[in-house]
C-alpha cells in the first residue's frame, strides 16, 4: 500500500500544480490533457481568469474610490485607498527622480495586483480546486480528476514573466527616450570598461556588450523568477501541509501567518525593483 499511497500523494500534488489548459486541436477547442501536444499556443485559462478577475477587482475598487474622492474630510474607504496610493507615491518620489506620468500608476497597479494574486495563496489549497472539481463533475459530467484549477496566478511562470517582460519593454523604452538610440547603444558598448582611446574602445566593445547585455537581461529574469519562485515554493509547502492529515491545522496556521509577510513583501519588492530599474534606465550617468 505504501507505493500506492505515494502514488496518490504525488499525483495529488501534481494535480494541484497543473494549470487548466485550453488550446485548439484540429480547429476545435480542446482542454487539459488533450492539449499536451499543443506547444506554445496553449492558454492557462485558470491563470488568465483569476489574474484578470483580480485585476478588474483592483481597478473597480480603486476606480470607485477615485470617482468619489473628495478633497474635504475623506471617508474610511477613501482613507484606506489613499493610504495605499500614498505609500506608492512616496516610494516613487523617493526613488524615481525624473518626471513621468506612467511610473506611479504602473507601480500602484503592480503592487496591488500582485498582492491580490498572492493573496489567493492564503485560501486553503483544496477549497477552490475541490469546488471546481465538484462543479465539473456535476454540471459538465467530467471526471473531477480531470478538472484543474490553480488559483494563485503568481505561481504560474507565464504571469510573472509577462509582468517582467512588460517592465523590460518599459526599461528599454525609457532608456531610448531619455538617452536616445545612440546613447542607449553607447551605454551597452562603452561600459563598464571605458577608455578615451578610440581603438581600444572598439576592442573592448564585445566584452562590454556581453557584460551589459547580461546585466540588462538579468533584471527581468530576476523579477520574474523571484516572484514565481517565492510563491511557487509557498504554494508547494501549503500543498504538502495539506497532505498530512489533521496535523496540518497548526502547521497550516503557522505557515499562513508567515506567508502573510511573504505575499506583501513580494508584491512590494516587485514594485520597488520596477521603480528602481526604470529609474536606472532613465538616469544618464552610468
Amino acid at each position: 500500500m505504501a507505493a500506492g499511497e505515494e502514488l496518490t500523494l504525488s499525483s495529488h500534488i501534481q494535480h494541484h500544480l497543473t494549470n487548466a489548459k485550453m488550446c485548439t486541436v484540429d480547429g476545435s477547442v480542446a482542454f487539459n490533457k488533450a492539449c499536451s501536444e499543443a506547444g506554445f499556443w496553449t492558454w492557462h485559462v485558470d491563470t488568465l481568469a483569476w489574474s484578470i478577475g483580480l485585476g478588474l477587482l483592483f481597478l473597480w475598487v480603486f476606480r470607485s474610490a477615485a470617482t468619489k474622492a473628495t478633497t474635504g474630510v475623506p471617508g474610511k474607504f477613501q482613507c484606506f485607498i489613499e493610504m495605499v496610493v500614498e505609500l506608492v507615491a512616496t516610494n516613487v518620489k523617493d526613488t524615481y527622480h525624473g518626471k513621468s506620468k506612467l511610473i506611479a500608476p504602473l507601480a500602484l497597479t503592480i503592487f496591488v495586483w500582485v498582492f491580490l494574486m498572492n493573496l489567493m495563496d492564503l485560501i486553503p489549497v483544496d477549497f477552490l480546486p475541490a469546488f471546481a472539481g465538484f462543479v465539473g463533475e456535476q454540471a459538465l459530467g467530467m471526471d473531477s480528476h480531470d478538472v484543474y484549477m490553480k488559483i494563485v496566478p503568481t505561481t504560474d511562470i507565464n504571469l510573472t514573466a509577462a509582468l517582467a517582460i512588460g517592465v523590460f519593454i518599459l526599461m528599454i523604452g525609457y532608456s531610448i527616450r531619455i538617452k536616445g538610440v545612440l546613447g542607449f547603444i553607447k551605454e551597452l558598448t562603452l561600459h563598464p570598461f571605458s577608455t578615451k582611446n578610440v581603438p581600444l574602445q572598439i576592442v573592448l566593445i564585445p566584452a562590454n556588450l556581453l557584460l551589459e547585455t547580461i546585466a540588462l537581461v538579468a533584471k527581468p529574469f530576476s523579477l520574474a523568477l523571484r516572484l514565481f519562485g517565492n510563491l511557487y515554493a509557498g504554494e508547494m509547502i501549503f500543498i504538502l501541509i495539506g497532505a498530512v492529515g489533521l496535523a496540518q491545522l497548526p502547521l497550516h496556521f503557522i505557515w499562513a501567518v508567515f506567508h502573510i509577510l511573504v505575499i506583501v513583501l513580494q508584491a512590494f519588492v516587485f514594485m520597488m525593483l520596477t521603480i528602481v530599474y526604470l529609474s536606472m534606465a532613465s538616469s544618464d550617468n552610468h
Partner: protein, 156 residues
C-alpha cells in the same frame, strides 16, 4: 518552465490595467490627496498667522491701556493743580475783598470820628464861649474876641 500563449494574454492584460490605472484611477486619487494636503497646509499657515495677529493685537491693547492710564493720571494731576490754583485765587480774592472792606470801614470810621470830633469841638467851643460869656457877663464882644475863641477851639 512551460512558457506558452498565456504570457501574451497576461502581457496584454497588464498593459490594459496599467493604462486604465494611469488614465482613470491614479490622477483623481493623487489630485484629491494633493489638494487636501494644500488645504491643510493653508489652514495651518492661516492659524499661525491668526496666532501672530492675536499676539500683536494683545500687545497693542496693552500699550493702549498703558497710554490711557498715563493720560488719565496726567488729567487727574492737572485737575488737581487747577483746583489748587483756583482755591488759591479764591483765597487771595477773598483776602483782597476783606482788606478792601476793612479799609472802607476804617475810612468811614475815621471820617465819622473826625466829624464827631469837629462837632464836639464846635460844641465845646460853643460851650466855652457860652461859659465865658456867662463868666465875663458880656464883657467880651463876640465879634471882637472871635480870634481868641478860634484859638481856644484849635487847642481843644
Amino acid at each position: 518552465m512551460n512558457l506558452n500563449a498565456t504570457l501574451i494574454g497576461e502581457l496584454i492584460a497588464f498593459a490594459v490595467f496599467v493604462l486604465f490605472c494611469m488614465k482613470f484611477v491614479w490622477p483623481p486619487l493623487i489630485n484629491a490627496i494633493e489638494a487636501r494636503q494644500k488645504k491643510i497646509a493653508d489652514g495651518l499657515a492661516a492659524s499661525d498667522r491668526a496666532e501672530k495677529d492675536l499676539a500683536l493685537a494683545q500687545d497693542k491693547a496693552k500699550d493702549q491701556l498703558k497710554d490711557a492710564k498715563a493720560q488719565a493720571a496726567d488729567i487727574i494731576e492737572q485737575a488737581k493743580k487747577r483746583e489748587a490754583k483756583m482755591l488759591d485765587e479764591a483765597v487771595h480774592k477773598a483776602n483782597a475783598e476783606r482788606e478792601n472792606i476793612l479799609a472802607i470801614g476804617r475810612a468811614e470810621l475815621e471820617a465819622e470820628r473826625n466829624r464827631l470830633r469837629e462837632e464836639l469841638r464846635k460844641q465845646v467851643a460853643a460851650l466855652a464861649v457860652a461859659g465865658a460869656e456867662k463868666i465875663l457877663q458880656r464883657s467880651i464882644d463876640e465879634a471882637a474876641h472871635s480870634d481868641i475863641l478860634e484859638k481856644l477851639v484849635q487847642e481843644l
